[in-house]
């Protein structure tokens, strides 16, 4: 064995999440009434473009989730067991080994061949001079950076982008071939249908976004081997690598929190709405109390207590990574426990409405058990609310992580995340000369992630929420288009809850 797999707590939960998503996809494909709104998502150009970008992030995040301990060479030479390194690495770490291990002395700007700080250097003739020394790895292959650097960077970027373009052509050709095969038309006509956005899924948007991302990725991959494309930070670590590592933290917080929150919200919300009476009173009291504590303070208090607990029980974690990982999991749990109240309120309202409908009354009359009514008749009919809430919450949680880490109640300081990156970089803006690239990296990666999450959430909401669908219908009919959707009753909003005293 060359490695020993390590499954951290969040890894296991991410695997569980992937399994759930696969099961859901399978289930949705078999059920027409679930597949129909998803087809509307597929029609949305912005939604599909956003999904393409998200897919890239998810791939990076998943690569970073598979953890293992590589084998180290057994120097004692015995026939004993293979020794494994104490360092827990992920697949992404292994792929990005050059990025991870090529550590400079301190700051260097993007594409630099020289350090960002002067150093005293011994001259060959015995004297000393203060100058910017060459970087150990960034641009080390150049003889004379002054003249060669720009040409070398441009050449590599073009070569990488060319590779990206080639890949993109392959993907588009494959896509067109698949479409052509399915509809039994010639390849070129399928291609032209993609070009004119005349397909069931908005493939044109996907292809355009794919072109942008593949070109960027190709250029970045070609360059990051020999340059620090986003510079290095104070201790000389590559910022591009940090940005890549932050993606997993953001994704884990955005998704696992929802996973933690859903059981509470679903169980309590539906029970309260379905059974009413004292059950309803107790659950309402519970969520009113929880939601009346300002969430930042509640999170801060809970994280503080968790810190004390972890400090007094150091025996629970064997490695630094395990400790940071457990803290991330706790953060997800805390965020989940503090944020289920909103969804619970919505679900209760919707269940209250549903239980009065005729088909559920009929089920009662037939003597169908409570459990079966809830699981067969109510749960599927509130799923759209759950889905909308899940995708809407995601971007907010990624943003919240940065703020919480700044406040000091976020992820473990040893864990790379957008929050810790910003926190470390914010003082550098006041430095003279200014170090801007760490902030720039955190900003652009976070912006891309959150923006695509927001756009995708919008597409999902437009497709699933009957209320929004009505208003978009009114809007599109203004433009003279027609949409053959049946009219549905709007979802009862949470605003009504507070009105009734």
């Amino acid at each position: 064995m060359f490695f020993k797999p390590v499954i951290l707590w969040t890894d296991a939960l991410v695997y569980l999440l992937v399994a759930i998503v696969i099961a859901l996809v399978w289930y949705v494909r078999r059920n027409e009434h679930f597949a129909a709104p998803w087809r509307r998502v597929g029609r949305s150009a912005s939604g599909m473009a956003a999904l393409t970008v998200l897919a890239f992030f998810v791939i990076i995040g998943l690569l970073d989730t598979v953890h293992l301990r590589p084998a180290v060479e057994n120097k004692s030479g015995g026939s004993g067991e293979t020794a494994y390194s104490v360092e827990v690495l992920s697949l992404l770490d292994l792929i990005a080994t050059p990025l991870r291990t090529r550590v400079e002395k301190t700051y260097s700007s993007p594409f630099a061949a020289y350090l960002y700080a002067r150093e005293t250097v011994e001259l060959p003739n015995g004297g000393q001079a203060r100058e910017f020394p060459r970087l150990e790895f960034g641009g080390a292959h150049l003889q004379d950076p002054e003249t060669q650097l720009v040409r070398d960077v441009a050449w590599r970027a073009v070569a990488g982008a060319g590779l990206g373009l080639f890949l993109w052509c392959m993907v588009v050709a494959f896509l067109a071939a698949t479409l052509a095969h399915r509809s039994g038309e010639p390849f070129l006509s399928a291609l032209s249908r993609i070009r004119h956005d005349d397909t069931a899924v908005s493939w044109r948007a996907v292809c355009l976004m794919l072109a942008v991302t593949l070109l960027l990725c190709g250029a970045a991959l070609a360059l990051c081997g020999s340059y620090h494309i986003l510079g290095t930070d104070k201790v000389g670590q590559d910022v591009f690598y940090q940005a890549l590592k932050s993606i997993r933290t953001g994704l884990v917080i955005g998704t696992l929190t929802t996973l933690m929150m859903l059981p509470f919200a679903l169980l309590l919300g539906i029970t309260a709405g379905y059974f009413r009476g004292w059950v309803d009173d107790v659950i309402q009291y519970l969520y009113t109390t929880l939601s009346s504590i300002p969430s930042v303070l509640l999170i801060a208090a809970a994280v503080l207590m968790m810190q004390v607990y972890m400090d007094t029980h150091p025996e629970l974690f064997d490695t630094v990574v395990a400790r940071a990982d457990l803290r991330l999991l706790f953060l997800c749990i805390i965020l989940g426990v503090t944020s289920w109240t909103g969804l619970c309120r919505l679900l209760r309202g919707e269940t209250l409405r549903l239980r009065e409908l005729e088909y559920i009354q009929a089920a009662h009359a037939f003597g169908v058990s409570h459990w079966r009514i809830i699981s067969r008749h109510i749960l599927p009919n509130v799923m759209h609310i759950v889905l909308i809430a899940t995708v809407m919450d995601f971007s907010g949680l990624v943003l919240a992580e940065a703020v919480l880490s700044y406040v000091g109640v976020g992820v473990d300081p040893s864990m790379i995340s957008f929050g810790t990156m910003i926190n470390a970089a914010r003082m550098e803006m006041a430095r003279e000369p200014m170090v801007w690239w760490a902030l720039f990296a955190a900003f652009s990666f976070m912006f891309a992630l959150v923006l695509s999450a927001n756009l995708f959430a919008d597409a999902v909401q437009n497709a699933f929420d009957p209320r929004v669908r009505l208003s978009t219908k009114a809007k599109t009919s203004l433009r003279g288009k027609r949409q053959g959707e049946p009219e549905t009753k709007p979802v009862s909003a949470s605003a009504g809850d507070r009105l009734s005293p």
Binding site: Y285, L286, T288, T289, L290, S292, I293, P294, V296, L297, L298, A300, A301, A302, L304, M305, Q307, V308, Y309, D311, T312, S395, L399, A402, V403, Y406, V407, G408, V409, F418, I422, R426, M429, A430, L439, F443, M446, F447, V450, L451, N454, L455, D458, R467, L470, S471, A474, K475, L478, R479, A495, R498, L499, P501
Partner: protein, 325 residues
């Protein structure tokens, strides 16, 4: 009306007791006072005497929920839970770790917080409403489309970047106002401009978009069609009919935060060095001052409940159909 308010206030008591129970569980049951003392005094080489002294200074030296040693009611009253809770309800928050009285600190730090939060709230509400109304006025045109695009883009930027970017551009590059700090008297104006501006901008995306949705929903209603059928110009329809009727959902979101303005903003205050309650809380979190955090949690929930009651009252003011009984 008065009856209703009294009933709501009475209803707030069980909620506050619940809040108190939750915070108590968080602070004292998950980690016993002994754990906290060890944490504060350093994990290793702590004598039991030092822990006892630490607990006694803070009044944590009694049993948590149930005192076996006492008789009668005192079994319950001479406990950490009861004494700390009663003190909370009487606004006696005790002393922070640096020896200062928390209640006094809150009283003095409330005003700087308010000086930032109130202008942000009022200015923000005005600006967002104007933007949203403009977008609705030009709905289904390019103004509306690009407005929404801009909103989504603004929403996708972390509030930290607004603050860092604003401080860099306005203060460091253009030297218009000081980067951070707080002054006395009329002098504070120049310290307030930047935080207020950034506060308004960072909330612009989400709020404008939210108000736009509310307005659009209102636009689809029958009375709007009637108003148009009467021949009223779009301007009048929008400002006289739609704006007024959209106030209910807008108030739901807006009024409830008014009392919370006292608490200030955690992030902005610590970035701009404003001695308000937000930076007080952050400092307490950093130095793990449990008494202060607990006091702020209690105060926050209290203000939130006040906000809910104010929301209900505001409904009766804008909508004569709503009667509180």
């Amino acid at each position: 009306m008065l009856n209703y308010i009294i009933r709501r206030l009475l209803y707030a008591i069980p909620i506050l007791i619940g809040v108190n129970l939750i915070t108590f569980t968080l602070f004292f049951v998950v980690n016993t006072p002994d754990d906290m003392a060890r944490m504060q005094l350093g994990i290793k080489r702590v004598t039991p005497e030092a822990i006892d002294k630490w607990k006694q200074e803070r009044g944590y030296d009694k049993p948590l929920m149930f005192n076996q040693a006492e008789n009668g009611v005192a079994k319950f009253t001479r406990t950490v839970f009861f004494e700390k809770s009663i003190a909370m309800f009487a606004f006696r928050f005790g002393r922070a770790d640096d020896g200062r009285d928390i209640a006094h600190e809150i009283k003095t730090r409330m005003f700087p917080s308010l000086a930032i939060a109130l202008p942000v709230f009022l200015l923000g509400l005005g600006v967002y409403l104007v933007f949203a109304l403009t977008m609705v006025f030009f709905r289904a045109t390019y103004v509306d489309f690009w407005g929404v695009v801009l909103c989504v883009a603004l929403m996708s930027i972390s509030s930290l970047f607004y603050i860092i970017g604003g401080q860099f551009l306005i203060s460091k590059l253009w030297h218009l106002v000081p980067i951070s700090g707080y002054g006395q008297g009329l002098d504070i104006g120049k310290f307030l401009v930047l935080p207020v501006m950034i506060g308004v901008i960072s909330g612009a995306g989400a709020n404008t978009r939210w108000y736009r949705t509310i307005f659009l929903e209102e636009m689809g209603k029958d009375y709007v069609r009637t108003a148009r059928a009467k021949g009223l110009p779009e301007r009048i329809v929008l400002f006289r009919h739609v704006l007024r009727n959209a106030l209910i959902p807008i108030l739901t979101g807006a009024v409830v935060v008014i009392p919370l303005l006292f608490l200030g903003s955690l992030i902005a205050e610590s970035f701009f060095g404003i001695p308000g309650l937000g930076s007080y809380t952050i400092d307490a979190i950093h130095s793990q001052d449990f008494a202060v955090v607990r006091a702020m949690v209690f105060l926050g929930s209290l203000l939130y409940i006040v906000g809910l009651i104010m929301t209900d009252i505001s409904y009766t003011l804008v909508d004569p159909r709503v009667r509180l009984e």
